[in-house]
């Protein structure tokens, strides 16, 4: 019979149970969905490498820096500068990027004049490229890189101070040589220094780049540099120039802030004229500055926009070299 007594409870109970459990399941699924929506989304790391370390960073990693110095045809200056730079406080290691293709590194000379305060590693290059210094060297153990041109002498005091400033602005290029771009009504950019008109309507000047030939920056940016569009490498190789402008574009895009922080040097010198090699550096080429304006415009194309930002912050060391260098008429 259809309405057998035993069937009814089973069927009714079955249907009620089914309904009840369906409702419970639906409610739980909605709760689960709501909780999932509240989970924090995984954001891209803005800081290169800074937060990817799973373990606590070791002492040298944070409190010291690695000097990377590229050299071409000025070994006498290189050795002179190495004597100076090898003793800078907080220096962990020196990496010499040897662009003298086919020429032996001065390792015997170097070793015979030991011991030395820090390890110095010569990285032999197979092609003489400007961007060789922007490789992500495996020997790099510190978070900070000090990059110096092989003809630039900066005092230990300036470097010690600038390193302490970098530690307060680790996302930016902290250095001694400010430059800027300006835009023109035609939309074409020009690269230059203080001799160019000042951008903006306020008083004073602005800078939008800090050159990496005398600057501290985060080693993570070397890793990031390996991931740039091919056109960037092609541009640098074509001009044998502009690697520093490209780095400023990279940093500005990464931070959304000005790429650099300018520290006014007390004692910075160019030793070019002191070399025996007769080689006088790329910036003496007639087309050097025009090339750099060219690079700015090309990079804007490649990156589809102008990421560089202006700053007018100039940092000096309080009470040095004059112990009351902040004194005023008050």
């Amino acid at each position: 019979r259809y309405f057998h007594f035993c069937k009814l409870p089973g069927r009714v109970m079955g249907i009620r149970l089914l309904r009840f459990t369906s409702v419970v399941i639906i409610v739980l699924l909605l709760v689960a969905g709501a909780l999932t929506a509240l989970l924090p989304s995984i954001k891209d790391d803005k800081m290169p490498n800074l937060r990817r370390e799973p373990k606590a960073p070791s002492q040298p990693a944070l409190d010291a820096f690695t000097l990377i110095m590229q050299t071409y045809n000025r070994t006498d200056l290189l050795l002179k500068l190495l004597n100076h730079y090898q003793a800078i406080p907080h220096l962990h290691k020196v990496i010499v990027v040897w662009n003298n293709v086919g020429e032996k590194i001065p390792e015997d000379t170097w070793n015979s004049l030991g011991p030395h305060p820090v390890p110095v590693i010569f990285k032999v290059q197979t092609v003489n490229r400007m961007r060789n210094r922007l490789q992500n060297f495996p020997e790099l153990e510190t978070k900070a890189v000090l990059m110096m041109d092989d003809d630039t002498l900066v005092s230990a005091h300036d470097l010690a101070f600038a390193f302490s400033v970098w530690q307060q602005f680790p996302e930016q290029i902290v250095g001694f040589v400010p430059r800027k771009h300006i835009s023109t009504p035609s939309g074409v950019y020009t690269y230059g220094s203080f001799e160019l008109q000042s951008p903006g309507s306020g008083k004073g000047d602005q800078y939008s780049m800090v050159l990496i030939g005398a600057a501290f920056f985060h080693s993570g940016y070397l890793e990031d540099f390996q991931k740039q569009p091919e056109a960037v490498y092609a541009l640098i190789d074509e001009t044998q120039n502009c690697d520093d402008i490209a780095m400023n574009f990279l940093v500005a895009k990464n931070t959304g802030k000005s790429s650099g922080v300018f520290v006014k040097p007390v004692d910075i010198r160019n030793l070019e004229k002191d070399t025996n090699s007769g080689y006088s550096g790329m910036w003496h080429r007639a087309e050097h500055l025009l090339q750099r304006s060219y690079c700015v415009n090309k990079l804007v194309n490649i990156y589809d926009g102008m990421p560089l930002k202006y700053s007018n912050i100039m940092i000096s060391q309080f009470g040095f070299p004059n112990y009351a260098n902040h004194k005023n008429k008050m």
Copy 2:
């Protein structure tokens, strides 16, 4: 009959359904529990007020500042300075803290010489207290406060630049007058300026305070100041001094960083000698500096520790007043 055919399916189906749904419910509850555990926890706000705004802040709140100027017995200087300060770019409003108890505010004079660029509000005080200027004035609409002594003239260029610097360091006191404390082997602190020995082992000097008598700081700190231990107010009232030292302690404790950022002024002047009142300011009292050392030690007791941190960062404006003030021998 117990094993009636229709009962079996109902009961078996019921049991299976029950088991199945129980399992499903348990699994969903576990998932819900896991998701809840992954939700972000609510952290305490470190920035006073900065992130508590539920709605988007209005334009004046962010791009402008309020001048708070306390005045006692130098109404001639006050009016002279108001003529200057009322026209500073980005000024939203002026709050004059009128410590001339019993004396009428110069409202008639002020109004008869209108119109004025911004509103100026005179807050009549009932007691002549140094800390009157650190009230959380309801008229305050901006995130930034510019606090000036009533005898200090700072150029508009310096103020415009320092305001832009404050916008980059909103947690700190950005101003023109650096001071420091030094510790001694006995553990007793001394307060002073560059004439004191430099702390630390590096080159140059350090500062650990920026005085609020010529500085920008976040208006949230006025709110925070109302929540300090009673002993702090008693100290300031007892000495009629040290409200600025107390503010530096508060900011340093709040940020864990140096309380101030020093901006080197191009043109700052003390107009004390120009007053007709003959009143020459608290800092001429014989015990002024000794009192301030006394205050540093008392505040260390009250706050159970020394929160002030040293800095040697000195900020100037790039390319101003000299368009190549960063030029070097390179």
